[in-house]
Amino acid sequence: MTYIIQGETGDWELVCGLEVHCQVISKAKLFSGASTAFGAEPNTQVDLLDAGLPGMLPVINRICVEQAVRTGLGLNAQINHRSVFARKNYFSADLPLGYQISQFDKPIVGEGVITLDLKDGKTKDVGIERLHLEMDAGKSMHDQDSTKSFIDLNRAGVALMEIVSRPDIRTPEEAGAYLKKLRAIVRYLGTCDGNMDEGSMRCDVNVSVRRVGETKLNTRAEVKNVNSVRFAMQAIEHEAQRQVQVYEDGGQVVQETRLFDSATGTTRSMRSKEHAHDYRYFPDPDLLPLEVTQAEIDAIRASLPELPDQKKQRFMDEWGLSPYDAGVLVAEQETAHYFEKVAEGRDPKQAANWVITNLFGALNRIGKPITESPISAAHLGKLIDLIKADVISGRIAKDVFEIMVETSGDPEAIVTERGLTQVTDTGAIDAAIDEVIKANPEKAQEVREGKDKLLGWFTGQVMKATQGKANPGMVNDLLKKKLMG
């Protein structure tokens, strides 16, 4: 799918790369023993180091290192056996040390790749430039007092993975797909909860534009504060259009940091030149170079779960699902788990159909995520079993499904209690057919004269007469015998 911005002087193309900060799932912070639990009272999870007290020293939390390696492996990336922590120096009220311990020219993870699943079922590879570990800053709160700002250091020192993509993204949709895929991967891996609302996954987008056909990279702007997939797509779209306008008006795009305003869907310049940061990076002398052995990497690799791409391939190869269906089902780990429970020992295509069409539809309608689905995977599986065993028809199954959405009930019990069991008694079906034929003699005659299409109409009428309980296959067979036999 191409994405062209039409300007007055010609067509423009979007060039975009993303920098995503993922908060590492770990009990303690990157360099201190303080807890990382979300939602605690301000300044209750602060170690002496996190508060920047004199003489305090960082000690690396190896769990965070393992998580970074795990994520790197999930991104099919190069793991660097030796990486270096550097200090990024700048003053900020919520940065107690006066520098952020980060990684600069020697990150723990090098080049990798993410495969995007696009709407049309196609895929696209986006390169990963690097992943590095760094500590988060605290939080400034400016709305608590009219003259003072308050600082919460609970978040200060929490481990982040900054994942930087190559400028391979060409459409806002791809940016959205990238974020969703990255989130799926880190959640499958258990290295980040991917929660953009709570800020445990944050995104900066780098946007530039160029005339269609050009291959050089133009000056980019970095848009910060984009904290949902939708906002990222909006911000990119707006920023690309703004830049096209700047060029078309004869201006030049300046390299700058811009802030996304979700209320207006626009971006605005954030820093004036006199505040341009010179971070004065240098290797942190308090820390030794970070070593990761091949044995450690191998052990982590051996413990990796099945990732979305592998799962998708398996669903296609072993279960015969279409690329689109497989892609949809693996996009969220919870969905995949749910689906696998439903499909286990059943017809996977039928299971996929029920999950994608019926369940997703219902969840969408009642506004609940799959983790809060009123229908358990076991119950949905049972429903499919009831169809297969000819206990109920597909039509009745849809009614039972709706009841399950409302009551969370067991389909077997619903069918029994409500007397929805399918009629397979030939005599009863015969009687119903005879009634329908009797009531519609002209139509019956038409069928006898060869108008096959009307047979379906008769089936429908019989089903209606039996409140859907008749076995539709049997109805069809008997009708054929009576009218065309």
Partner: protein, 492 residues
Amino acid sequence: MTKLTDLSLAEARDGLAQKKFSAVELTSAYVAAMARHADLNAYITPTPELALECAKASDARRAKGVAGAMEGIPIGMKDLFCTEGVRSTAASRILENFVPPYESTVSANLRDAGAVMLGKTNLDEFAMGSANVTSYFGNVANPWTRNSDDKTLVPGGSSGGSAAAVAARLCLAATGTDTGGSIRQPAAFCGIVGLKPTYGRCSRWGIVAFASSLDQAGPMTRTVRDAAIMLGAMAGNDPKDSTSAPIPVPDFEKALTGNIKGLKVGVPKEYRPQGLSAEIAKTWDQGLAWLKDAGAEPVEISLPHTDYALATYYIVAPAEASSNLARYDGVRYGLRVDGEGGLDDLYCRTRAAGFGKEVQRRILIGTYVLSAGYYDAYYLKAQRVRALIAEDFRKAFETVDVILTPTAPTPAFAVGENEDDPITMYLNDVFTVPTSLAGLPGMSVPVGLSADGLPLGLQLIGKPFDEETVLKVGGVLESSAAFTARPSRGEG
């Protein structure tokens, strides 16, 4: 009986063990001496009550048969070590009223070994200086004076308070920290022993950081044996300091065998620059002669990158300092000077008022050398030269066991001298800085007096984590020199 304050640490330890006197008696003698010689300004914060309490507790432990390696020994603590409940200033206005809720690893090790802290000793602000004249709490007076005049002399720096206190018998021993010579140079200026261990031997946790890749704590004592005892109590791997070495601490005192037969003593030709005072050169030759007499073999060596050491040091150390001192911003603790201009104004006012001139100078130098466009030319190049300097030593130690050099190019100078130009002051560290850059152990031993009656020291440099050889050779130098002169001020 000898005055209690005249005993060495080893003698006091043995006297305490033999119950000749109690820790309270010993501590009281020092507390009285501190009060009598407060004019030396060796202490920023004396803690006499606390000291007597600790001494009492020490006596109680001993009565129960429990005694650590430093049991009942009254010591001075450089005010760069954070001490729980006792204000820790780094001799800076910005930390004037800072009382840490934690104890540094080294001071905790000493406390756990039974040592009694007499107070926090003066230093150059944030350990930046070679004369102890940059302290916010005023300069320290060297207890020694020249024959030729009665000017107040500097004790050296930055551990000037510790050096003066040990020399004037205002404590039995003291902790120092050394970044480019801050233990060894003041030890030489005050006629005491000062040992900077190998980088990584002592934990830096809880020591106010100056330059993290160079800072190292060490003992300042009156004898080599005392340094061995005290280092043993200070050192050890600390999981809280990633740069502390995971290697066991030997019994340093056992290294003092006096036997240096066949040992090769390196004499670097680059340490005899033109203009080296004849007096210093003579002392050096004398030291070498003593070691030769004791059976060691002098070997001329070359450390070709020595000339670049000082420039390298004055890039690396300020660079790290500029970052390490960023946390003193007036936001969470320490001095805060509010202004009208918001946060940036708060930073500017606090740091302008809180830091002295030398500290500000080094922050500016450090910020400059790390800046975009200058990093490669300064910081990166300095790191490369640093590696070459370390390589010089590594090669030299393929042929020699220890290196002997002067500690400082001059004896102590008067307050006010060498202050016109910061570079002159920086030259004081010319013989000590290369060792620091290479992370090697170095010890200054007092070996004689200048013609003007001031103590002179020689420096012994060892292989990484070979403090034992340094101490062993230092012991021989000490007994050959038989340095018994006493300063004119302090406890007589």
